[in-house]
Amino acid sequence: MTTQTKTEDTPAPTGPEAFLSVRDLRVRFSTEDGVVNAVDGLSFDVERGKTLGIVGESGSGKSVTNLTILGLHNPQTASVEGEIVLDGQELVSAPERELEKLRGNKVAMIFQDPLTALSPYYTVGRQIAEPYMKHTGASKKEAKARAIEMLDKVGIPQPATRFNDYPHQFSGGMRQRAMIAMALICDPDLLIADEPTTALDVTVQAQILDLLKDLQQEFGSAIIFITHDLGVIANMADDLLVMYAGRAVERGSVREVLQTPKHPYTWGLLSSMPRLGGDLDEPLVPIPGSPPSLLNPPSGCAFHPRCTFKDQVDAGLCSGEKPLLAAGRAAACHLTPDQKQSIFIDQIKPRLG
């Protein structure tokens, strides 16, 4: 059902200096119930030292995309098509041995739940030192010194003693700090952070986010930051990609997307979110319905069953044809630019206050 759209999303969003570029990525899983189209023709670029935010609801394909970059899917059940080029190296067809050299070295990952991402069987210090020993060939002693230095950098008190602790002896925030130390120990060029603060409390989240930002300035890594929280993204990212049902629906700089969003889904997300400074007499405007099943995604624009503005488009266009996401600042929607402009100014902007 997706083969006919093979060539539609190929335009390159930005110039050639992109450090990571993903082109027309498709990830499918065969399950007992049928084929799940988890990612369906996704293209994006990440520049060196910049942060790309990816927002979307659960099941929108944001995590699957990033596991694909590191080649972490089981090839027996997942089929990956498209192109992932990291610093001139093609990753989709790369052999496992090449990917192994990248993981934890050039590309590192911070997972959502640090308790399940850390092994309970080894000490925290050993787990942090391991990638350093593997990728640089350092001795155990050198790796330990480096790991303690990293633990200190991420703000773990008494790093030399804490090196020998097990993950269960750490609190939630400290585990996430240890994960960050592990990810940064080889000075990666690309850091993928998959909902790194979702499991944390707000005060700890604020600490971790600021820490990541400051460390990024020091290490100069590019970050792909995945989250469902638009507030977190506004603080962290330079560029923003909004995903829905395995496709990118809107792309632009954070300022552009949050201040002048162009896609009905982004409008819905922003107006359904209560704000600390928002008008209390203004009701929240939820998006009707619920996210689609990826086993059987809606035809045409995947958002059309929930879209309030589909009447303004020629009949059948939304349900018949997938809207394209043009290069640069763009939204994948059949509404004309004038319509979007007037809907946003008349109906959406007043809600956002």
């Binding site: 008190p157 409390d201 707000v202 400051d214 300022r255 819905g268």
Partner: protein, 373 residues
């Protein structure tokens, strides 16, 4: 959309001061969970002081928000109020009646008036029962026979919460997360309660679905005049839903006030820290104060002496370690705005001349590069 209902203005003023009789009063409530250890005979070696002296009042028809970080005892408080747990100490008064240690029999008539909505819409519905049975069972247990029969009432309730009454015979797995939460709301409404304890009712839902359920709860509160104890960790959601808000930390209430005072004129340092930590989706929002605490919440097994927040507080002095600050009205605050702090902050959330950064790693990194944005 029928769900878009705003709160009527007059409800904003309901609270202490307008003379109403409180529906629920909680005084010095405590719940200590024992820890057993030792060999070969296990004996109690300590206690998790989950709730350690909570004072709250809920007035009829009012929504009181209860916010705090995980482990601060907000859910336990909710469960104590519904008497799903036996309190260790303190007093719970519901409509003038002391229910702190009331027996099952004494509680029976009250149970139908206090209902609960749970956090996880997946584990709080029995997968082997149909939606009809789930919503009907509170009526069966309490022997309520509404006119026209229970089934008719269930269909009405399904309609109230925005579900199709024809889904009466479906099973929970046929519904999405948001719809399941609606079933939970319908079940809580089945007995026409006076108080609903909603324990994180929207935190398990996707952002676009959260607003649907928040609007539904607001409609319910507005149309049926039910009082809510709304427990959540998301300050923006609580602000949207509650007329009064209480902030909890390590089993104690740190600050309680009407919504406006708490969010714009907070006095307790912890409230300041919480508000400053909330990420805002506004790129150009007015600069607010920046407070970054260090570390996590201490363990409730060995809470700090005196003020529980003192170990992470930038204003802590010797007095904080010895004296527990009472929850009182500080001069200059509105009536009903109570703060438990010896050295309260200025009542503003505007940016400070100097950020409060207590986290050692952050402080070190930022000292190297002082000129940041």
């Amino acid at each position: 959309m029928s769900e878009n209902v705003t709160l009527p203005k007059q409800q904003d003023s309901s609270g202490p001061g307008n003379g109403g009789e409180p529906l629920l009063t909680v005084e010095g409530l405590q719940k200590h969970f024992p820890i057993y250890g030792g060999f070969p005979f296990k004996r109690q070696v300590g206690a998790v002081k989950a709730v350690d002296g909570v004072d709250l009042t809920v007035y009829p028809g009012e929504a009181l928000g209860l916010v705090g970080e995980s482990g601060c005892g907000k859910s336990t408080t909710g469960r104590l109020v519904t008497r799903l747990l036996e309190p260790t100490g303190g007093k719970i008064t519901y409509a003038g009646q002391d229910i702190t240690h009331a027996s099952r029999k004494q509680l029976a008539p009250i149970r139908s008036e206090i209902q609960m909505i749970f956090q996880d819409p997946f584990s709080s519905l029995n997968p082997r029962q149909t939606v009809g049975t789930i919503i009907k069972s509170p009526m069966e247990v309490n022997g309520i026979n509404p006119p026209g029969g229970r089934e008719k009432r269930v269909r009405e309730l399904l309609e109230t919460v925005g579900l199709n009454p024809e889904h009466y015979n479906r099973f929970p797995h046929e519904f999405s997360g948001g719809q399941r939460q609606r079933i939970g709301v319908a079940r809580a409404l089945a007995l026409e309660p006076k108080l609903i304890v909603a324990d994180e009712p929207v935190s398990a839902l996707d952002v676009s679905i959260q607003a649907q359920v928040v609007n539904l709860l607001q409609k319910v509160q507005d149309e049926l005049g039910i009082a809510f104890l709304f427990i959540a960790h998301d300050l923006a959601v609580v602000r949207h839903f509650s007329q009064r808000v209480a902030v909890m930390y390590l089993g104690k209430v740190m600050e309680v006030a009407d919504r406006d005072s708490l969010y714009t004129r907070p006095r307790h340092p912890y409230t300041h820290a919480l508000l400053s930590a909330v990420p805002e989706a506004d790129v150009d929002s007015a600069k607010k104060e920046r407070i970054r605490l260090s570390g996590d919440v201490p363990s409730p097994i060995m809470p700090p002496s005196g003020c529980p927040f003192r170990t992470r507080c930038w204003k802590a002095q010797d007095k904080c370690a010895t004296d527990v600050p009472p929850l009182v009205q500080i001069s200059g605050n509105r009536e009903g705005h109570l703060t438990a702090c010896h050295f309260p902050e200025e009542p503003t959330i505007a940016a400070r001349a100097e950020d409060v950064v207590l986290d050692p790693a952050l402080a070190a990194l930022e000292a190297e590069r002082p000129a940041k944005d």
